[in-house]
């Protein structure tokens, strides 16, 4: 046997062994970065930060969002073009894909992890799918009392296989009970305010809050006291101030609530609104650099990070909660679209769309730990979401 044949035999044996015994790993330190223009996503490792795989062919991912399976192995990606894709993070492969609507905006997963719900603009409504197979279970058109179709926003999961969402055009909040996922029960709350633009469920699943675009304030449903209905919080926060044009609709999720406070983006104001999360009374308005898009509390709740709408989207600010003051202003890249904290908040990842990179910042020192290349990145989603209500 020549040296060359021996070498190739050894290499072949090594390759075979590699195939036979794949390296085991957990998914608890994984995440996903959406590459909006390419219609792809990157599977990433949080520590040390690294890109592990790229999955393509997911459709128009502008404004794409995703939810995790309860075992944090799979993600369900909701694409703008109505595509719903199930991706295996461990193998980096597309497992299933359905084109479920003409125009979709996001989704949620049920508390038992068996139902994936998609919220759609066109045709306006919510569809429920089997989380294993993506088989359609129920189709719930969103129509107002007069039968007019409405775009659906702010879909969030609640305990007991329930979901809540808001109707942008109709100004309603609907509570969907999927105890029987093929025949869900709907409770409608009408007249909750004009043009709800997004919604959130608190991380204990008790409150559902929809932000209003067409008027000041937010609409709050306390699911422990459903008979009390929906009430307005922070009404007239913009009174006496000029409402600025809104170049990017803000986003709400459960990260807005931290400790004793709730932090919300003001619409048409360069302000973060702060409410007491028991009384829901206004506590403060924090002046910031531009109009907030994401207002995210660190997992510990000590600081709140804010990014901004065009043309202020090159900047991120950090609010100190006890003093309710901006304490840091960062310029991590052009067009910062999204932020995601690690589960315990040691780092925050920011997507810089126009610099084609993801920036990883140490939250203690505010130093950039590293940057990862990504094509037009938007949403970043870490696997801790798998175990969190409202995510």
């Amino acid at each position: 046997m020549t040296l060359r044949t021996l070498l190739s035999a050894v290499l072949a044996a090594t390759a075979l062994a590699g195939c036979a015994t794949p390296t085991l790993r957990g998914s608890g330190d994984l995440g996903v970065v959406i590459e909006r223009a390419a219609g792809s996503l990157q599977v990433v490792q949080q520590q040390p930060p690294a890109s592990l795989a790229r999955v393509r062919g997911l459709g128009d991912l502008s404004h794409a969002s995703l939810v995790y399976s309860r075992d944090a192995r799979y993600v369900y990606v909701f694409a703008r073009d109505g595509g719903l894709s199930k991706v295996d993070l461990l193998t980096g492969t597309l497992q299933a894909r359905v084109l479920q609507a003409g125009n979709s905006i996001g989704g949620a997963i049920s508390s038992d992890g068996r139902i994936v719900a998609a919220q759609n603009y066109s045709p306006g409504g919510v569809k429920l799918f089997d989380a294993d197979t993506l088989t359609l279970l129920a189709d719930i058109p969103a129509q107002d009392a007069a039968g007019q179709s409405s775009r659906v926003v702010g879909l969030a999961d609640l305990p007991g296989n329930r979901f809540a969402f808001a109707l942008f055009d109709a100004g309603e909040i609907w509570l969907l009970d999927a105890a029987n996922p093929c025949q869900p029960a709907i409770t409608r709350y009408r007249g909750i305010g004009r043009q709800p633009y997004d919604g959130l469920a608190s991380s204990d699943g008790r409150y559902y809050i929809a932000g209003l675009f067409g008027e000041d304030g937010l609409a709050l449903l306390d699911t422990w006291h459903l008979d009390a209905g929906v009430r307005r919080i922070l009404p007239a926060y913009g009174q006496g101030e000029t409402r600025l044009p809104v170049y990017k609709m803000p986003h709400l999720r459960g990260w807005s609530l931290a400790g004793d406070y709730a932090f919300f983006p003001a619409i048409g104001q360069s302000q973060v609104l702060v409410a007491d999360s028991r009384s829901w009374q206004s506590v403060a308005k924090v002046p910031v650099y531009g109009q907030p898009v994401f207002v995210m509390a660190e997992p510990g709740g000590r600081r709140v990070w804010v990014n901004f709408a065009f043309p202020h989207n090159d900047t991120v600010q950090v609010i100190d909660v006890p003093s309710m003051q901006v304490v840091h202003t960062l310029k991590p890249g052009r067009s910062i679209l999204h932020m995601e904290f690690t589960a315990r908040g040691d780092a925050v990842w920011l997507s810089s769309r126009d610099d084609d990179k993801v920036v990883v910042i140490d939250t203690r020192t505010l130093a950039v730990r590293t940057e990862l290349p990504a094509a037009n990145p938007s949403g970043i989603f870490f696997s801790w979401r798998a175990g969190r209500m409202g995510m």
């Binding site: 223009a37 128009d60 991912l61 502008s62 905006i105 603009y121 170049y247």
Partner: protein
């Protein structure tokens, strides 16, 4: 990282269409037609704005979302002047903001021409 928005062929086609448009407008004596077109660098900025920032509501492929669809089919038959006015001054009662602080009238007119011709996505 820069990505070519168009192939060379489609770019030439686009330029021919724009030229045809310019001639058409000239013959109809539309008041704004004598305004200079945005230069090449500015056109890149506008195309980026259209794709990314308009796309935030109208979709990267302009199929619509919170904003209405901006495909040529969706815009067919709509007067260019009213579309230009919508870009510049927004639509009260909707989420469409005024872009006048960032876009001039002739730039808005150039964008409307592109959109109504369904530029390559």
């Amino acid at each position: 990282m820069t990505k070519p928005l168009y192939s060379r062929g489609s770019l030439i086609g686009l330029m021919l269409m724009l030229l045809a448009c310019a001639l058409l407008f000239a013959s109809e004596a539309v008041p704004a037609s004598h305004l200079p077109k945005p230069d090449a660098a500015r056109r890149q900025v506008l195309l980026h704005l259209l794709r990314e920032d308009c796309g935030a509501c109208h979709g990267l492929t302009r199929q619509g979302g919170l904003g209405s669809p901006l495909t040529a089919a969706a815009l067919a038959g709509k007067p260019a002047d009213s579309l230009v006015a919508t870009i510049l001054d927004g639509r009260p009662g909707t989420a469409m903001p005024p872009w006048r602080p960032f876009i001039s009238e002739q730039e808005a007119r150039w964008l409307v021409e592109l959109l109504q011709q369904d530029l390559p996505r």
